[in-house]
Amino acid sequence: MERLLRMLTQLHPEVTFTPDTRLLEEELLDSFDIVTLVSEIDEEYGVVIPAQELIPENFATGTALYRLIRRLGEG
Amino acid sequence: MTNVLQYLEQTVREKPYHLFLTDGQRGMTFREVYDQARAIGSCLIQSGVVGKAVAVLMEKTPRTVAAFLGAIYGGNYYVPLDSQMPRGRLEAIVDFLAPGALLWDESTRGLAEALPYSGTRIGYSQAAFGMIQEEPLRAVRKAQLDIDPIYVVFTSGSTGIPKGVVGCHRGVIDYVEQLCPALGFDGESVFGNQTPLYFDACLKELFPAMKYGGCVHLIPRQLFSFPVRLVEYLNQHQINTLCWVASAMTMVSNPGTFERIRPRFLRTVAFASEVLPVRQLKAWRKAAPGARFFNLYGPTETTGICCYYEICRELEDDEPIPIGAPFPNTQILLLDEEGRPAAPGAPGEIYIRGTRLTLGYYRSPEQEAGAFVQNPLQNSYPERVYRTGDMAMRNSRGELVFLGRRDQQIKRMGRRIELGEIEAAAGALPGVDSAGCVCSGEPQRLILFYTGPAEPEALLTGLKQRLPRYMLPNDLRPLEAMPRTPNGKLHRSRLRELADQG
């Protein structure tokens, strides 16, 4: 989870991220950030997030994102 | 080509909706003239009028020309009547003519009804908007030959009784085929007609326009008394071809009109029926440098113009304008009193030979005998030539020069005096607009009438330098206006009466 938060702050240093900050509602992440995040996750966790998983529910908050990574990791 | 109507039918196929005739009020396209003429033809045939004279008593409007062609479609020949002529003369002509039908329209309704004429009277609209019957028209057309008469034109006969000259298809076709190339008429020609429709002069405008699909503007008569407005009319309608009588030309060029306004579109200017003073010609040539000028000569009896001369050099003021040479397929013979060819350079009487000759005079064989004679040069076969009664000679360049009427030559003090020469000399002097010379009384005295600001004494001194003593007129009389016949020629009999009154 810490690695995930580090990745997020790397994208937007001026924002302090917590596991449940509303990433999309407050328009913190745009499509650019999501794509860079996906490639970072691929890098870090070796988990490939398929296109159909790129839906608002999975990126609503840090925890949701983390849950997605774990689900794809084992699956 | 054996029928003048073929000109119209060919043009109707090519440009049916091109403007053919207009008088500033009503315009008629070829298609309308064609339809209305055939309707008139059908109406005439239906009323049993075929092969007869059809008197057309109408003002100068496009419809009049349609009436002419309508008469021809009906297998008749049209006789245009001048509604302005004195009532007595009109009735005499109609009586003498005894036409098969009388065509009239709203503008000549009163006159037509008053005429003592018992034949069929037909209103223009009744005929022109009636039903066209193709079959009768086709039958009549099949029977028509090129020697059938198409018109009778009454000339102002010098002897008082009106002479009706009968023209036929052949004469007109030959005339048009020679005239157009010589004067350069084509599809672009826009004619400004001045002469009345009851003279043959208008033939050289109507039929060429019909042949090439040109356009004829019947210029309203009153415009000829306002030269500036007349030239504006010419420019406004882009008229590029004029075939006027000399007096009309003089009337326009004389009062300095060209300083105020110039005709801008003229391509061809032809003048006829009389001698045009060189001074007036120069004024016209300066005003319309781009135009070609022609002096035309031709009596009615030869269907119109038979000689033409294109002015191509500067002429001296007193030098008469030559009448040049005859059209192809027409020959001019200069013969002396005995009928032998005149010596070169010597004056001779003009005899005209060719298909152009008209059929002769209407119902007056005796007049014909004097004019249409056997060719004096040969008598091995019958050959009609027309003795014009005009005198001419060939100048050093071989061009024919018109001298005047034969009967206008007088002998005075043993010398032949050509009154025309005296008039030409006077005309060339400054301050003289037009001149007419007659001799009268016993012993013969030469009286010169002239119009213009010149003083008699100054005129006499001028003449002295130009004329031999025996040709100097005894008396010089200024006139307000020179008397003219309806078709613009000098009214010599009136001058003689004035001279006799003394």
Partner: protein
């Protein structure tokens, strides 16, 4: 409830706007106001003229009354096409059954809405004819017949149902006339005849436009057949007339076809063009627009001549002796003479 009364007054305001914006035809273009005037004068007419400007400019019902006691009315409008004429005829039979129906055949030269000219011209003339008609099935059919296919698809017929859709952009051209004539209109004709007292001889050479087609169009013949059937149903005699106007040109091929048709259908066809001398029309004094239409003197001459034919060929009674009828027509004659004197 509140909603319904809101809708109601909203509708009222829109209706008022529609009336305000509709053209009133009081100024120059009076021809637009001809058709609407028939409805007050419906009934008791022996002869009804139907056709385009050659009818309402070249015939005068007052002269027909004064000379022959014929009661007539003209249902003419500018460039009235044959389909509009047919449906006007159909509508007229709902108000009265005349003894004679006179139709001017010139409009047969237009075979389709497109052929009558540019879209703006067609729209202007259609409006002058159709807007004046009262709403009925005839008007609906006339509207649809007068529109081109695209105009119908676009919904042109609705702009006749709700004129506001057509005249909405007149808001910037409103004048006092629009307000004054909001609820009533000012009659401009004398039994459908639009009087012109001016005299303007032919001054500019009128040249005929090319003939569109030697054969009159199929649509025109269909509507003419319909007219014949309609008049036969009502026992009315259909008289075809070509009024003596010279332009536009009535080509002789067309005249031949109409004459043949009239012979087959045993109809009376009167072409007044050949009778110009008989009628005495002088195009220098009898026209108000340089030779296109007749003025009042020309119209009276034409009516006098045509009246005689109507009387002889159609056996029309002379009503001048009947009290009730002549009272009405006397008033009309007075108004007619006044207008003529005034030189309107």
């Amino acid at each position: 409830m509140k909603k319904w009364c809101a809708f109601l007054c909203g509708g009222l305001i829109l209706g008022l706007l529609q009336g305000l914006l509709a053209p009133k035809y009081t100024g120059l273009t009076q021809e637009g106001g001809l058709i609407r005037e028939y409805y007050q004068n419906a009934g008791g007419n022996d002869v009804i003229f139907i056709g385009d400007c050659e009818v309402y400019e070249n015939f005068s019902p007052i002269t027909l009354w004064q000379e022959y006691g014929i009661t007539s009315y003209i249902r003419g409008s500018p460039q009235q096409t044959i389909w509009q004429s047919y449906y006007l005829m159909e509508e007229t039979f709902r108000y009265e059954t005349p003894k004679v129906m006179v139709f001017n055949v010139l409009s047969m030269k237009y075979d389709s809405p497109e052929s009558t000219g540019s879209q703006s011209r067609r729209e202007a003339y259609n409006r002058m004819t159709l807007d004046g008609m009262r709403w009925s099935s005839c008007k609906w059919k006339a509207v649809n017949a007068s529109l081109t296919r695209e105009e119908r698809r676009w919904g042109g017929a609705l702009t006749y149902l709700f004129p506001l859709l057509r005249y909405h952009d007149r808001w910037s051209e409103l004048t006092a006339e629009d307000v004054r004539y909001l609820f009533h209109f000012q009659p401009v004709s004398h039994c459908g005849y639009l009087m012109r007292t001016g005299v303007e001889p032919m001054t500019e050479a009128l040249i005929s436009a090319p003939m569109t087609d030697a054969e009159l169009g199929q649509t025109s013949w269909e509507y003419l057949d319909k007219m014949v059937r309609l008049c036969r149903e009502h026992g009315t005699q259909l008289v075809l007339v070509k009024s003596p106007g010279l332009y536009p040109v009535w080509w002789w091929e067309w005249d031949r076809q109409v004459t043949e048709y009239a012979r087959e259908q045993e109809l009376l066809y009167v072409n007044m063009l050949p009778a110009q001398e008989e009628i005495g029309i002088d195009w220098m004094t009898d026209t108000y627009d340089g030779g296109l239409h007749l003025n009042v003197s020309g119209a009276e001459k034409a009516s006098a001549w045509f009246g005689k034919i109507l009387q002889e060929q159609c056996g029309l009674p002379d009503h001048r002796r009947e009290e009730t009828v002549s009272a009405l027509w006397e008033a009309r004659c007075r108004a007619y003479e006044a207008a003529k004197a005034e030189g309107r």
